[in-house]
């Protein structure tokens, strides 16, 4: 035999460390073993469709984690890199015949491996120095705004994107949505209104992207809630839901943010917690309870309670409040709109009918489905920063689907998807407006 597959690394001294890691990974074993390696996740993984690499699809990543756990090989860095190359879109989990909790495994494994390998200095600066401290984050964004004016120019007026004025290594050729001139928390610092005829009071969790990039959307939410006489509690100094931290495996920052918010939530009684950001909703509803046992039992109890009460704004309006119906659609004037299912709404929470109901309520619009409406837009949070080319290729496919619908408006229930779709449409010079379903519904009232 000319070849042996035994590529043992010369890592005698690494052994004790690896043993320690294996031990940490053991908490994942019961979940890892559920994967039967059937490979069906290849059909739905947006990343795999681009690259065709087994290490990019859930089965491959699960096998890598299993390989580390079984000490089949000793390359935690290699596993870490591949694990981080993932949109965390949950398409695999939603379609897995064996019911593997893929996202839970990935998120926990990222935390374990980050703990083991350490956070990179750049991420540490952003996550620990900024994100975990809401005031500093707000200030940094204001600084960013000043720079933005100097370095960027308008790119597409219909969509409202900008691009770099000159070649910038960070911005690359992105067409990004600019930071709003006045973030929402500067427009309306806090709110605490009484419940009216709806009989409901909600906590409105604004979320970073809506606060800093789409403040008008926050206003739309408030307007809609006011219209339905839903009491709104929106205290000052809300921060980030923690998704950028936990998806980078930064448990420390994540925990700090969870604790920080639990204190804010305590100040007032409310029936539901709502957000207009699919990612915030899914983080609070799914990831907080999943990770809270790492903090303490009492926090777990509180987090479970909050998660129970957390709803996407469309869910609240459709199933708790009841929608206003706006007359009959005029087929001559109705604007065609297509809806993109954010992964964090449909695959994580099973919410797909409600945002469509918001759109259908407004007779000025006619909903037309695009092909594969629930195909991921490719943003994936920090995935976009680390793998911009891939992220764009996936986004390009989404753009083609949107274009194929022939609509002049695309709606979606997550500001992160709105960013990605804006970037993709703008770079293709499409004249298609990106909206949130709440905005469409608000136009009716």
């Amino acid at each position: 035999m000319a070849v042996l597959n035994d590529k043992r690394l010369n890592e005698e001294d690494e052994m004790p460390k690896i043993k320690a890691l294996t031990k940490l990974m053991q908490e994942l074993e019961d979940q890892l073993v559920v994967c039967m390696r059937c490979g069906m996740c290849q059909a739905v993984c947006p990343l795999f469709r681009e690259t065709g690499l087994e290490a990019d699809v859930a089965r491959g990543k699960l096998a890598l984690l299993d390989g580390l756990l079984q000490e089949m090989f000793k390359d935690p860095q290699g596993v870490y890199d591949r694990l981080n190359k993932c949109l965390l879109c949950g398409s695999c989990a939603a379609n897995c015949p064996s019911g593997v909790s893929v996202l839970e495994i990935f998120i926990k494994a990222r935390a374990i491996l980050t703990g083991f390998m350490g956070l990179s200095p750049a991420r540490k600066l952003i996550l620990r120095g900024m994100l975990s401290r809401p005031e500093i984050f707000d200030r940094a964004a204001e600084w960013g705004l000043k720079f933005q004016k100097i370095f960027t120019r308008p790119a597409n007026e219909i969509i409202g994107t900008s691009c770099a004025r000159f070649v910038s290594p960070l911005l690359k050729d992105r067409h990004f949505m600019p930071l709003a001139t006045v973030p929402f928390h500067r427009q309306t610092a806090s709110l605490n209104t009484d419940k009216g005829r709806s009989g409901l009071k909600v906590f409105f969790f604004v979320g970073c992207l809506i606060d800093k990039i789409f403040p008008q959307l926050a206003q739309d939410v408030i307007d809609v809630l006011n219209y339905h006489e839903v009491g709104v509690f929106m205290p000052q100094k809300q921060g980030c839901c923690g998704i950028p931290a936990i998806s980078s495996g930064d448990l420390k920052t994540f925990n700090r943010l969870v604790r920080y918010h639990l204190e804010i939530f305590d100040a007032e009684k409310f029936d539901y917690m709502v957000t207009a950001c699919a990612t915030c909703t899914s983080t609070i509803k799914k990831i907080w309870p999943m990770m809270a046992d790492k903090i303490s039992d009492s926090i777990q109890t509180k987090v479970d309670e909050i998660a129970q009460k957390t709803l996407d704004i469309s869910q609240l309006l459709v199933s708790k409040v009841g929608l206003e119906k706006g007359g009959i659609e005029d087929s001559n004037t109705a604007v065609d709109v297509t809806f993109h299912d954010p992964c964090h709404l449909k695959k994580s929470l099973g919410v797909a009918a409600e945002p469509r109901a918001l759109i259908n309520a407004n007779p000025a619009y006619r909903l037309k489905e695009m092909p594969e409406a629930d195909w991921c837009c490719g943003l994936g949070g920090s995935f976009n920063l680390q793998h911009y080319k891939l992220s764009s290729n996936i986004g390009k496919l989404k753009r083609d689907y949107i274009k194929a619908s022939g609509c002049s408006v695309v709606a979606t229930g997550c500001p992160a998807c709105m960013l990605q779709i804006s970037d993709m449409m703008s770079r293709s010079a499409d004249k298609i407006v990106v909206k949130h379903p709440v905005e469409i519904y608000r136009e009716l009232l």
Partner: protein, 464 residues
């Protein structure tokens, strides 16, 4: 380790981005869907065209590197586990549909084309490619041909073999071999395609596959019949066939599977039923009505406790959704799933199902059985936890007993999942030693260095 000069040569042929040497990447090409130990290859290579595919095969042969071709890696018998290390060759960059010819009704594809993609492209042209393995959303046509994959429509429409009109493949030396043609009739040369179908990458590497297409049926009608007695269900199957009706699909689920599916999907299945038959007839509308009527009559006459005929497409989808969710419903019960496919002549189904139930009791393990009642291809699905060593031994004993039973009933070890490594040691029981020797001689003649997926199907040594 691969020697550096050879590695450079692979990189020149394929481009560095298609040569994988990182341990982490290689680990992801060490397994497939079979419950077997993984083996990490020394190298993974991804050719992007015929030319580089042929050169890679030749280089492997010249350097005596074992070569295991991998499509989607969904086979259930260990066919893509590189048991002797060496190279894993990925076909998923060879994913072009080269031609769909509506006039002469054939398609020519590269081996990495996903089955469902071809089926959809063909359907868009008003034609039909029937083989529909449960894995079709991901499986490749190369893998289908190499495993002779079947599917739900096997009874009426046959299996992959029945659609392979021609093949162009590379032998171990990397030379192009052509067999069959685009014509319905072809009488030249040996029927090498017949030998290569189901060869699991041990005799050659497919480069182009010519597949037969047929006109689609104009109408379908689906129904399901509930039986409180397994024998009645089987008698019904036999009676349907005896009345010269060939349903497109004739599927069966046992009580264990029915309960699992119902728990999982709340589709309203009768959880007390001993068996469920799911039947679809298709063809010309008048014929469909007539056949459906006859099937319904036979079900009632022989003793179905109830029968439901799907009234529209939505109801039809519901019937098939229940069947399609069988495997996932079972899979969710225990961590490890062993999906077997022992097959018996269809008249022997009741006996086989009873035997499986007895074996399940004797060995004290959970087995749900569903499958293709029309062609006798059952899927006894064993639910276990491979970490439990003691139970795993009982599982292995049960599998062997199931094989023995199937053979004693005149059946076969595998209806569609192939031999691979999982069943190679049992093959002699089915075929006898002389058959294995004969096969080994063919293999030795075609692949003298034994580089093409060594040890698969015919096992180890060249000595016996």
């Amino acid at each position: 380790m691969i020697n550096p000069a050879l590695l450079r040569e692979f990189q020149t042929v394929l481009g560095a981005e298609n040569v994988f040497t990182d341990q982490a990447d290689l680990l992801t090409y060490s397994y497939d869907a079979a419950v077997l130990a993984a083996v990490v290859p020394a190298l993974a290579l991804r050719p992007v065209d015929s030319e580089s595919l042929s050169r890679v095969v030749r280089l492997c042969n010249e350097n005596q590197l074992p070569l295991t071709v991998r499509g989607a890696g969904t086979n259930l018998s260990g066919g893509t586990i590189p048991i002797r290390g060496g190279v894993v060759l990925l076909t998923n960059a060879l994913d072009k549909i080269l031609e769909i010819n509506s006039e002469d009704m054939y398609a020519i594809v590269q081996p990495g084309v996903v089955t469902a993609k071809l089926a959809a492209a063909v359907e868009a042209k008003g034609l039909f490619y029937p083989p529909d393995p449960g894995s079709q959303a991901v499986s490749t046509l190369g893998g289908n041909v190499a495993e002779n994959a079947g599917g739900l429509r096997g009874l009426k429409y046959g299996v992959t073999r029945d659609y392979v009109m021609g093949l162009q493949f590379f032998n171990a030396e990397g030379e192009s071999i052509k067999t069959g043609s685009k014509t319905v009739k072809c009488a030249t040369g040996y029927n090498l395609a017949g030998l290569l179908v189901g060869s699991e990458g041990t005799l050659g590497v497919f480069n182009e596959i010519t597949l037969k297409l047929i006109p689609p049926p104009a109408r379908q009608k689906a129904m399901f019949a509930v039986f409180n007695d397994m024998d009645r269900a089987s008698e019904t199957v036999a009676a349907v066939i005896a009345h010269r009706i060939v349903p497109a699909t004739l599927e069966f689920m046992d009580n264990f599977t029915i309960r699992a599916v119902e728990d999982f999907s709340r589709a309203g299945l009768p959880v007390d039923a001993a068996a469920l038959l799911l039947i679809e007839v298709d063809g010309h509308p008048a014929q469909v009505e007539e056949d459906a009527g006859k099937v319904e009559y036979l079900c009632r006459k022989i003793g179905a406790d109830s029968i439901r005929v799907a009234k529209d497409a939505a109801e039809r989808d519901k019937v098939w959704a229940a069947r399609r969710s069988a495997l996932s419903a079972l899979a969710k019960l225990k961590p490890t799933v062993v999906l077997e496919d022992a097959t018996v002549p269809r008249s022997k189904i009741p006996e086989m199902v009873r035997a499986i139930q007895d074996i399940s009791k004797q060995c004290d393990i959970s087995i749900g059985t569903f499958g293709h009642a029309g062609d006798g291809n059952l899927h006894p699905t064993i639910l276990t936890d491979r970490r439990d060593k003691e139970e795993w031994e009982r599982v292995e004993a049960a599998i062997e007993t199931i094989f023995d039973k199937a053979l004693s009933l005149g059946g076969t070890l595998s209806g569609e999942h192939g031999t691979g490594i999982a069943k190679s040691c049992f093959l002699e029981k089915e075929t006898g030693l002389a058959t294995i020797r004969y096969s080994r001689r063919i293999k030795a003649a075609m692949d003298p260095n034994n580089i093409l997926n060594p040890e698969k199907i015919i096992g180890y040594s060249n000595t016996r």
